[in-house]
């Protein structure tokens, strides 16, 4: 278990810049998720750490050691590939034992280690099968076992669950969290799926399309306090409203054209927060209360018309058309079988939210 530190990392492939000036601290023994849209360079970043690609400039530290130019087979870092890259001519045992045999460990030790890990991964009935005879979930576990049996300082996972169906993915996510908890190895998990990242990560980083790190924080920090509309929109669902900052000296407000002014909360003073500045307000759909009646004790309220209703099971999504022709999404928990108030198409409704639950963004 060692930390990873990336300093001013740069990488371009075929003259296209993939990663530009990435600085990142990945603490030792943590489950770290790297989240970004497809093609943002997150897999490239992982390949640079593994040594599968070489950096153009910048330094990679493993603990205190500079491993930027260390050959791939000497790095105490292992990767689980997206399509597993299991050796098709070897059985499960030989796949998992691969790295141990290269280390020339005694046969008996290899057997002990491999059997132990295969048992831990519920693969004891498949030891002598070829990997092509296994199901997707089993292949995934073989890939994990093969990487972990080597006891790496850092385990890299490149979209490891992308090929699995939803139920299995949820199960494997829990298994991964428990595994990391037990091993205390530093895990770096690359994904484009915000649900996976939020589920597994102790800490996560969001990458944008330009190959830059946009925000680093715990899942809760990222979800509740995104620092840009990119992060707010990419992680979870949100409503973004555009307006001008006003009444800064007294109680800050945002004035939205054709809609009115709303109270906002500015926990930290930023230099761009000046009177009349163009700002964005992000409100998560679940932070808005929807009702046909007037409700007191909310700092902000709005009127709108129900345009469509999508039933999700545990929640219902309402799409509300506002007077300025902008649509807002609202989620409501389905707490009761027989709700007192039934909201239907074309109903006039009130939307309420507390000012602390909206986030003010510069861009």
């Amino acid at each position: 278990m060692r930390s990873i530190k990336l300093e001013n990392l740069r990488k371009s492939i075929n003259k296209g810049l993939i990663i530009s000036k990435v600085n990142l601290n990945i603490p030792a023994g943590k489950f770290f998720a790297l989240l970004g849209p497809s093609g943002c360079g997150k897999t490239t970043l992982l390949r640079l750490i593994a040594g599968l690609d070489s950096v153009d400039s910048g330094i990679i530290y493993l603990g205190d050691e500079d491993i930027t130019h260390k050959p791939i087979n000497e790095r105490p870092v292992n990767i689980v590939f997206q399509n597993y890259a299991l050796f098709p001519h070897l059985n499960v045992f030989d796949n998992v034992a691969y790295s141990l045999k290269l280390k020339k460990l005694p046969k008996i030790i290899i057997q002990q280690k491999v059997f132990k890990i295969l048992e831990a991964f519920h693969l004891q009935d498949h030891i002598y099968k070829l990997t092509s005879q296994l199901s997707g979930g089993q292949q995934q576990r073989v890939a994990l076992a093969r990487a972990i049996v080597n006891e790496p300082d850092v385990l890299l996972l490149d979209e490891p669950l992308a090929a699995l169906d939803f139920k299995l993915r949820e199960k494997m996510l829990i298994e991964l969290i428990e595994l990391q908890d037990k091993l205390k190895t530093t895990f770096i998990y690359v994904t484009h799926d915000q649900f996976e990242a939020l589920t597994v990560a102790d800490q996560m980083a969001i990458m944008n399309h330009k190959g830059e790190i946009e925000q680093i924080g715990t899942p809760k920090e990222i979800y509740e306090f995104p620092i840009s509309s990119f992060v707010a929109k990419f992680v979870g669902t949100t409503n973004i409203l555009q307006g001008q900052l006003s009444n800064l000296s007294h109680e800050s407000e945002i004035s939205i054209p054709d809609l009115g002014t709303f109270k906002i909360h500015l926990p930290q003073k930023k230099e761009w927060m000046i009177e009349g500045a163009n700002i964005l307000m992000s409100i998560r759909p679940e932070k808005i209360l929807i009702s046909k009646k007037e409700v007191k004790n909310f700092s902000n309220s709005l009127k709108g018309t129900v345009q469509s209703i999508v039933y999700h099971g545990r929640s219902t999504q309402y799409n509300i058309l506002l007077s300025n022709n902008i649509r807002l999404q609202v989620f409501e928990q389905n707490e009761e079988h027989f709700p007192q108030e039934v909201i239907d198409y074309d109903n006039e409704v009130y939307l309420y939210w507390q000012k602390e639950n909206a986030v003010i963004l510069e861009k």
Binding site: A50, G51, L52, I72, N73, E74, V77, N78, I79, F81, N83, A85, L86, F87, P88, H89, L90, D94, Y98, S99, K101, L102, K103, R146, A147, N150
Partner: protein, 298 residues
Amino acid sequence: MAIKKHTPKIAFLSPPSSEVPYAIGIPAIVWQVLFFYIPLLIIVFSSILKISDQGSIQGITLAKLTVFFTPTYAKIIGSSILLAVSNAILCLFIAYPIAYFLAFRVKRFKNLFLFLLIVPFWTNFLLHVYAWFFVLEREGFLNTLLRWLGIISEPIHFLNSIFAIMVMMVYYYMPFMLMPIYASLERFDSKLIEASMDLGANWRQTFRRILLPLTSRGVRSGFFLVYIPSFGEFAIPELMGGDKQMFVGSVVSHYILGDQTGSLGAAFTVLSCIILLISAVALYWIIERLLSSKVLNG
């Protein structure tokens, strides 16, 4: 009662569909019988039948076969095996890196490279030989180059030597090795190389444990595509080696084309075919052992 459709157990024996009858294969079968099986039978019979001067069959004899049970012919067959094996091995060692380069390193001009490898086959075989004469002769390209580089002072006599035979053999048979290896490398997932290196293997270990076992099919078929025809090759030794080197092919052509010795040629053909078959099986077994994952993976 439900009507069960008859489904044949062996798919190979059943026609692909009722619209495509067996008859479609008849021209090929007729061709094969007329120009392959019948000539083969003629060769076999004429090597063991005792025929009088008047042309009547007088029984069966092994005399024509035993004529060749002498050290001279054993040496000729031995050198043919040696020629074929060394040709196959040389081709393998040259073709594998080229195929690897083509399959994994060349991105944009892959088809052009493959095209360039095929192009020589469009010209006549004799033209290839003459081209190599120009390279290898006393005042040829190779001697001029070596003298210009100052490596030699007097021209070397390259032609009419084992060296010239080998150069021409490797040159001519290389594509037969390259194509199957390239085909197996094309199918190879290069992520497996990365996975192997990531798990701590160096390049040599990755080659032995992953790349070679997974491309063994291409290596094997390439080896025999080169080995079998090289064994009977007679044009190249004849043209490049002068009269000095005798191989199976030269003996066969000598007897078949000679006066009244056709049946001896047939007998020698049968004998060398049997030996080719035995040597191929032996080589297959050796290669299989060398490529088996047990040996390679320790």
